[in-house]
């Protein structure tokens, strides 16, 4: 059986140095965006989804677990942050914290349930759990059902950073994204990450070596869900609303698509994939439902001919990991 990711590539000190160079290039390019005239709202939105996709990739690319319900963390953190900011009038930093804690708590519960089954059953369970939450949010009074929570105040972060200024907001979101990205990078290259990869490759062997694989998978799930929640909390400041779209299964599907297009199990792939998909939605917005058809076609094409994704193909060509 062919594994999900390309395993012929080794992580060497040289590869890690290359990755840090690439990271610096990415950070500089993104930091320069406000000076280029590119619509900052678009880039901020893409950054939130890129962080979400990176968190999702931690689970599938390094743990081999395909979650089809990651929208539940995005949406839950979004709703809780939005509620904290608007109703409790908390400052932005605490609002984000509320969202992250909510996603953390949710991932503890859903992880405990879904880790009990493997493979496609795991995917179906996460999908069903996110649908369960969708219906709960549809009926719960604090989410305001179909309307969602709107007009969320952006406020002053730490009392000084005025988030209602687009440039300031952009840099706050960028710092959040880069911090999340580095954290994920650190996790992947930690001893914990190595064990995770070994479980992905051959779980029975990892068990026979004495690892309690369930605990590793559970921890990976919680880390991934919590980081996805961080993305959801940041997104509240960008979109200034929290709605049912963020908890819907189609959102979970989009995250899968972004990661697949960029490259499962690659470090920069989910970022590239998020930008590609968000840009596509932006430019094709006038075509109505054809966007769904195009997304479906990309899924089909990727699975049939392009399983390594953009970054995965490049990395394979240069025989390096990116």
């Amino acid at each position: 059986m062919t594994a999900l990711t390309d395993d012929t590539l080794r992580v060497t000190p040289r590869a890690m140095r290359d990755e840090m160079v690439l990271f610096a290039v990415m950070a500089l390019l993104l930091a320069a965006v406000p000076f280029t005239g590119v619509y900052p709202f678009f880039v901020m939105q893409a950054l939130c989804f890129a962080l979400l996709a990176c968190a999702f990739n931690l689970l599938i690319g390094y743990g081999g677990l395909l979650s089809f319900g990651h929208a539940m963390f995005l949406g839950t953190a979004g709703y809780c942050s939005a509620h904290a900011l608007k109703v409790w009038a908390l400052p932005p930093e605490l609002g984000i914290l509320v969202g992250i804690v909510a996603a953390f708590a949710l991932s503890l519960v859903t992880g405990y349930i879904s880790i009990r089954r493997q493979g496609i059953y795991f995917s179906m369970i996460t999908l069903a759990l996110s649908q369960l939450l969708y219906f709960i949010y549809l009926q719960a009074p604090f989410t305001h059902g179909e309307d969602g929570i709107q007009g969320i105040p952006q406020g002053h972060m730490f009392g000084v950073l005025d988030l209602s200024k687009p440039t300031m907001l952009y840099y706050v979101v960028l710092v959040g994204f880069l911090a999340g990205f580095l954290l994920i990078y650190r996790i992947i290259n930690s001893p914990f990450g190595e064990v995770l990869k070994s479980i992905r490759e051959n779980e029975p062997r990892a068990i026979s070596l004495g690892y309690r694989t369930d605990q590793y998978k559970f921890l990976a799930f919680v880390l991934s869900g919590t980081l996805a929640g961080f993305a959801g909390a940041l997104k509240v400041f960008v979109a200034q609303n929290a709605s049912l779209t963020d908890v819907h299964w189609s959102m979970s599907g989009e995250v899968v698509l972004m990661t697949l297009v960029g490259g499962l199990g690659t470090i920069f792939g989910p970022v590239v994939g998020a930008f590609v998909i968000i840009a596509m939605q932006q430019y094709l917005a006038g075509f109505g439902q054809w966007v769904t058809v195009i997304q479906g076609s990309i899924f089909v094409i990727c699975v049939l001919t392009f399983r390594r994704g953009v970054i995965g193909e490049i990395a394979h060509y240069f025989r390096r990991s990116f």
């Binding site: 059986m1 062919t2 594994a3 999900l4 599938i60 395909l66 089809f68 349930i113 879904s114 009990r116 089954r117 493997q118 493979g119 496609i120 059953y121 995917s123 179906m124 369970i125 999908l127 069903a128 759990l129 649908q131 369960l132 219906f135 709960i136 549809l138 009926q139 299964w249 599907g253 899968v256 697949l260 109505g288 439902q289 054809w290 966007v291 769904t292 058809v293 997304q295 479906g296 076609s297 990309i298 899924f299 089909v300 990727c302 699975v303 049939l304 399983r307």
Partner: protein
Amino acid sequence: MQALYAQLLVGLINGSFYALLSLGLAVIFGMLNIINFAHGALYMMGAFVAYFLLNIGGISYWWALLLAPVIVGIFGMILERTMLQWLTGLDHLYGLLLTFGIALIVQGVFQNYFGSSGLPYAIPDQLKGGMNLGFMFLPVYRGWVVIFSLVVCLATWFLIEKTRLGAYLRAATENPTLVRAFGINVPRMITLTYGLGVGLAALAGVLSAPINQVRPLMGADLIIVVFAVVVIGGMGSIMGSIITGFALGVIEGLTKYFYPEASNTVVFVLMVLVLLVKPTGLTGRAA
């Protein structure tokens, strides 16, 4: 009490659809090792084909009951020949992703041409009206759906568990290489199996057309519930799928009567409970 019986009947009807769909999923999974995410979209296509047959070709419900599953089944076999067969030997998850993509394409195309609102499909004349059973009023069409689905489910069970063809099928599920060595064309069997599973979904679509309207997204949310049904029942046993499907439909119906707020979520909650108590699912075979 009238309301309770009415909800029980609705539950039985939903249970019929769960049973037909999860049966198809189980049959397909057994042979192809693929979870067919496109199942909901193909169910929807079944209903639309019946709608086209009636409104364009003037072909009645009774013929649609036969023709729609065949047409959609052929469409499914084309999908299997052109796309799904290339996934042999790859991780199972790719099958899920590919069929998810197919579902998005099919649903998107139908949404473009028909929007999101429902198209009406009339109940055939022979099944109009109702019967007074003494304790409740039974619309004939609804009774027909439950009985007909049950017959189809049992016939599928019989085909797979009791006939020679079914024996080949079960053998090929266990060890395809060995079955090929006996001179049986396993790839063709795989294609036909996918066609059978898809045909069952389309049949459920035709049955539901007069009850729920014909809508492009009618299968999108349904398939997620059916996934939960499959997690609860496991895909190891044909009879298990049938019984779990009907039972969950009935439980959902009862919930609608006693605690309507939870009727959307009860199947998912039950899935959580089953996973906590018996992680391998009710029929007990580990994945």
